[in-house]
Amino acid sequence: MSASPLIEVKDLYFSYRTHGETFPVLRGITLRVNRGEHVAVIGHNGSGKSTLAKHLNGLLLPDEGAVWVQGLDTREKKHLREIRRRVGMVFQHPDNQLVATIVEEDVAFGLENLSVPPEEMADRVTDALRAVGMEDFRKRPPHHLSGGQKQRVAIGGILAMRPDCLVLDEATSMLDSFGRKEILQVVRRLHGEGIAVVSVTHHMSEAAEADRVIVLEKGRIALEGTPREVFREREQLSRLRLDVPEAGRIASRVHAGHPGFPDDLYRREELVEAVERFTCGKVEVNHG
């Protein structure tokens, strides 16, 4: 893990300029994303999390500081295409990122950009569509798909490029609960296969599944650590107008009524397991 990081961000400063005014957005961000890691970035609107995400594959370039993807500096133009192949990005609006008029052509778009030979493309498109469960929709036009399906196609288009890292920039925020589940399942599986995931999200339950959570506030990193370390800081989070996952809220109320119960559980499964332990454990004692 401590070997060369997949993405390294060092002292990143960035400002937007419009109509002669300058708005600082990122002020000194330093972070690393390791191979195969799942990092969640949270923060309320305007904290700079989407801007940070757009630096990870060189869509935006730092004013000061630098971003390296496996040692390649995003400011060097000649590396840009390779950087974008390695770090793929899925955006918020399912409708605004599909380019082609049929699904398979869209998945092939990135491959065409990489000048992949046509003979090889067909296989890679098929594999990518299978990985996101959309092979039956191969010949369909995008406007016949649901939001969740469009997002799966978008992910497929990136997978076909065989990336090392998938950046999800609020990729589930426009979806209904069903679509969100579809996407999270796909992402979980990809992560299991060794692809690193950076997810910028508003959903605390999504963040709770990450290996590491980064909380942004006014362009700086306010908190960083495992979900447990971060969500434990309730006061600071609520000051930043951020929630704790529902599972965490329930756990702390149970803890309040029954102090033996842990109050730092944030995933559904964790909570359910804990309840099992508490109840079944007692059952055994009773029997014994």
Partner: protein, 288 residues
């Protein structure tokens, strides 16, 4: 006996009747809502929800069956659509897209001006509507619309409909795509409209958290039919129903369902955080 505010009886609707693309959207739907009630309609894309709500505003007229809003019948040969639109305010998905005036005050005033009210009356309505959604009239009426944040734009669009002072407010996915902070704020505003201003509210949603915070009653739609109806507690408590229609319940409910599946005697309909914690506590205490 008091007549309900909104009555829908055996409403059916078929798109493109008599063509190869014929598509049945509503089949014999019957539904009622009392004055001052808050009714949620949930279901998947294509379940007929949006076809249903378009009937409430005369955008679609009943092909068969009846729709009555506050004594106004819409099934006759020449229904008074204009009168209906004064009674019913319809807020579409992503209503901020429909903002077209340069200044906030003008956009909110568009509806009242179109209805032919005098300036004085329009101003009062605009002030009332803007304050209701939590946007200060004096501060914002002359602001350019493009300078607003996403959450503010949505509130302005909502105010634009409220300025018509409808008795029935119909919302399609009111909080989709908003960040959690704006979402909570908007939900609180809608709840106030319902509870304090006694406005009848009907909203379509995929989001069960929204149902949990707002609705008095829930109607589940599937394939153009009303599949189930009841209080949120009844609907969330019905494990089979939720699974059958693939409705992602609030997280608390999901946790309780998981415990329920493992044989714990919990009531899975307890969807509020405290209630869920209470259920778990009593589970633990029971075993002691």
């Amino acid at each position: 006996m008091r007549e309900p505010f909104l009555t829908i009886r055996n409403l059916s609707h078929t798109y493109m009747k008599g063509t190869p693309l014929e598509h049945v959207a509503l089949r014999e739907v019957s539904l009622e809502a009392g004055r001052g009630e808050c009714l949620a309609i949930i279901g998947h894309t294509g379940s007929g929800k949006s076809t249903l709500i378009q009937h409430l505003n005369g955008l679609l007229l009943p092909q068969s069956g009846e729709v009555t809003v506050d004594g106004l019948h819409l099934s006759g040969p020449k229904p008074d659509v204009k009168a209906l639109r004064r009674k019913v305010g319809l807020v579409f998905q992503n209503p901020e897209d429909q903002i077209f005036e340069k200044l906030v005050g003008d956009d909110v005033a568009y509806g009242p001006f179109k209805m032919g009210y005098p300036l004085q009356e329009v101003r009062e309505r605009v002030r009332w509507a803007m304050e209701l959604v939590g946007i200060s009239f004096d501060e914002y009426k002359d602001r350019p619309t493009f300078a607003l944040s996403g959450g503010q734009k949505r509130k302005v669009a909502l105010a634009g409909v409220l300025a018509l002072k409808p008795d029935l407010l119909v919302l399609d996915e009111p909080t989709a795509g908003l960040d959690p902070y704006s979402r909570n704020e908007l939900l609180n505003r809608i709840r106030e409209l319902n509870r304090k201003e006694k406005m009848t509210v009907l909203f379509v949603t995929h989001n069960m958290e929204e149902v949990a915070t707002l609705a008095d009653r829930v109607c589940v739609m599937a394939e153009g039919r009303v599949a189930a109806e009841g209080t949120p507690r009844e609907i969330f408590g019905d494990t089979r129903l939720l699974a059958e229609h693939q409705l992602g319940p609030p997280e608390a409910v999901e946790i309780l369902h998981a415990l329920h599946r493992r044989g714990h005697p919990v009531n899975p309909g307890a969807y509020l955080t405290e209630e869920a914690a209470g259920e778990i506590l009593s589970l633990i205490r029971e075993r002691e």
